[in-house]
């Protein structure tokens, strides 16, 4: 049975809810409302009133090749980094679940990266992946010109993907490990008795039983790759070279605060918000419909 708190008078309940409502309103609904308003007006860079322009901002953004380039970059980034972070985490969690030697070490160490703020880890990766010093310098020595994120867009994209995936491997690992451990041991043993080897057991038994977790992480990873990538891009590439890593979230910032195109940036953030809302709806539908086997 669900426990419910009941209050004798509705005013007490409201009083408890007010601080939370105030926070949500101040930091979410108000700015979101402002953004919607700005996206429908032309905001002057140095103040002095707004001109109502309807959907003109959206039209001009969607007609802009730079914006489509940004969407493409975001999709590439989301696809590859989510794939990498999830596959690596899945493999590590599967190995840890088998209690192989040293698995306790993964368990502790793999959780740490998620606790590091994006800009801090971006700074670290900027040094790690620097073409002029360290490991990549050695590679460049062997194949001159192989790696230069400052000049080559693909290298720059690879850099931010590596940094982002590294952070989310830890996050995904925790969820995957929990999902694996929720599978009763006897199911694996029964499959072993049925003649199934380690790999076969993974695909036939464990993988199907963790699909709810896979869907959940897929949505979370994609959503986060749209939002949490800002710090990494800002520190590592600043959107360059030649807009190769100008992800949607970074373009909002650079157009708005560097280019002083507030209205265009507001319209972009509305589009990004709608995208994330759509993803969240998909996620909730999956969670609600999630198959409970027991």
């Amino acid at each position: 049975m669900e426990k419910r708190v009941t209050f004798g008078r509705w005013t007490i309940g409201i009083l408890f809810a007010v601080p939370q409502l105030l926070l949500i309103f101040t930091f979410f609904y108000w700015p979101a409302g402002q953004a919607i308003y700005w996206s429908l007006t032309l905001q002057q860079p140095w103040g002095g009133g707004n001109i109502w322009v309807g959907l003109d901002n959206f039209r001009s953004i969607l007609a802009n090749a730079d914006y489509w380039n940004s969407i493409t970059a975001s999709m590439v980034f989301a696809g590859i980094s989510t794939g990498l972070a999830m596959v690596i985490a899945l493999v590590l969690a599967a190995l840890t679940d088998r209690q192989l030697a040293g698995s306790w070490l993964y368990r502790v160490v793999l959780i740490w990266p998620y606790g590091i703020a994006a800009p801090a880890l971006a700074l670290a990766f900027r040094f790690i992946l620097a073409p002029e010093a360290g490991f990549m310098a050695v590679v460049n020595q062997v194949w001159p010109g192989f790696w230069d994120p400052g000049l080559d867009g693909a290298d720059a994209m690879a850099s931010i993907i590596i940094a982002f995936s590294w952070k989310y491997v830890g996050y995904n690992f925790i969820f995957f490990l929990a999902a694996f451990q929720a599978i009763p041991r006897s199911l694996i043993e029964a499959a072993a008795m049925d003649g199934s080897g380690v790999i076969r057991r993974f695909w036939d038994i464990q993988f199907p039983l963790i699909t709810p977790t896979i869907f959940f992480l897929l949505v979370i990873n994609i959503t986060e790759s749209f939002q949490d990538s800002f710090g990494i891009v800002d520190i590592m590439t600043a959107g360059g070279p030649a807009n190769a890593t100008n992800l949607m979230v970074y373009k909002i910032y650079s157009d708005g605060f560097k280019g002083l195109d507030y209205s265009g940036a507001a319209a972009q953030s509305i589009i990004l918000m709608l995208l994330i809302v759509a993803l969240t709806i998909v996620q909730f539908r999956f969670i609600e419909r999630r198959v409970h086997y027991r």
Partner: protein, 366 residues
């Protein structure tokens, strides 16, 4: 059909030893039940036969082949788990046919064999269901089907009936027995339920504290328990145990408060013994009858066909099972009488059975 030979098998978890050197031989085609209280190592032993636990020391051989280093799938065993362990995302047909699928058997033949097994277990109408849509008994049958379809050399059962309600348990018990008669594969069945053990077993293995206490037919184990533990563990209500000392003319019981005249036991005078008597072997007589022990009635449990009468023998609990229609009042005094040959003697020190009355003695009324 396969024999199982277990030699000096031990199991250690880190520093604790849970199985202390077990030697057993299971003949081909027999239904062996391993009985013991929880934590006695019986499931561990079964899982070592299955290959789910590593064997710390000793060897297990199936059909003469030592299987210590073999993977579970190479041993030719099938296992029914306590919680059924059905694959929740597969239908009943997929569950039963999974081992064939892994073995690469073509789907047409697979479907045919699944059908055949389902017919035997009366699961035909449930083949498309998922396990969560089945009742406990149906799940149990699916688990058995999954084991059967492989036509294994050895069937292993790990307390498969303990999650079922009492009625279903009795029903499944006879189904398992019938199935064994039909397939006649060597079966090893682990349980803590002595009724299950007695009814199913060709051979009964009683384990306690990681050691084998006794091996024999259920009747042997019941009538000649090898130790005090077996005597009190097998049989319900449990065998009555009275501490005593051997005297010149018989026994003094319960710290000398009672004396029992028995013929020469062959035990040294002064030896400390535990004397056991089955509740079924006790007769109730008038309190003053010659040779009868007087006791106070505590409680009567009505069983319909008979009743269990709990009495107090100078502070020691004692029970009597009778089918006579006697209803002594609680608090009243009754006399207890039993045949000398129904007494079991156990050493107070080791708990082992002491063989007495070797020469057949005509049954004297005490």
């Amino acid at each position: 059909m396969a024999s199982i030979t277990i030699r000096g098998v031990k199991k250690n978890y880190a520093k604790t030893q849970v199985v202390h050197g077990v030697d057993l031989d299971f003949a081909s085609g027999k239904f062996v039940v391993i009985l013991g209280p929880s934590g006695c190592g019986k499931s561990t032993l079964l899982r070592m036969i299955a290959g789910l636990e590593e064997i710390s020391d000793g060897t297990i051989a199936i059909d003469g082949t030592v299987v210590n280093k073999l993977e579970p799938r190479e041993r030719g065993c099938a296992m029914v788990f306590q919680n059924y362990a059905l694959y929740p995302h597969m239908s009943v047909a997929q569950n039963i046919g999974y081992s064939l699928k892994v073995a690469g058997i073509p789907s047409a033949e697979r479907a045919q064999r699944v059908q055949a097994v389902a017919r035997v277990l009366e699961l035909e109408h449930l083949l498309d269901r998922k396990p969560m849509a089945l009742s406990g008994g149906q799940r149990q049958r699916v688990a058995m089907g999954r084991a059967m379809i492989r036509e294994p050399k050895v069937f292993l059962f790990d307390e498969p009936l303990s999650n079922l309600d009492a009625k279903l348990r009795v029903q499944m018990r006879s189904e398992i027995r019938k199935l064994h008669r039909r397939l006649s594969a060597t079966s090893v069945f682990v349980t803590h339920d002595q009724v299950e053990a007695m009814t199913l077993a060709d051979r009964l293995v009683v384990m306690n504290g990681g050691r084998v206490e006794q091996v024999g037919t259920p009747a042997e184990v019941y009538s000649r328990p090898a130790s005090r533990f077996v005597a009190t563990f097998v049989g319900a209500p449990a065998m009555n145990m009275l501490e005593g000392t051997v005297t010149l003319d018989g026994l003094s019981l319960l710290g000398d408060s009672r004396r029992l005249n028995v013929s020469r036991t062959g035990l040294p005078v002064g030896a400390k013994v535990a004397v056991g008597i089955r509740p079924e072997a006790v007769r109730m007589v008038a309190p003053g009858a010659p040779g009868a022990l007087a006791a106070t009635v505590d409680l009567i449990e009505e069983l319909g066909a008979g009743r269990v009468i709990y009495v107090d023998l100078d502070g020691a609990p004692f029970s009597i099972v009778t089918s006579e229609t006697v209803h002594p009042e609680p608090g009243s005094t009754v006399g207890l009488q039993f045949a000398e040959t129904d007494l079991h003697f156990f050493s107070s020190e080791t708990g082992g059975r002491l063989d007495v009355f070797k020469a057949s003695v005509p049954e004297p009324a005490l």
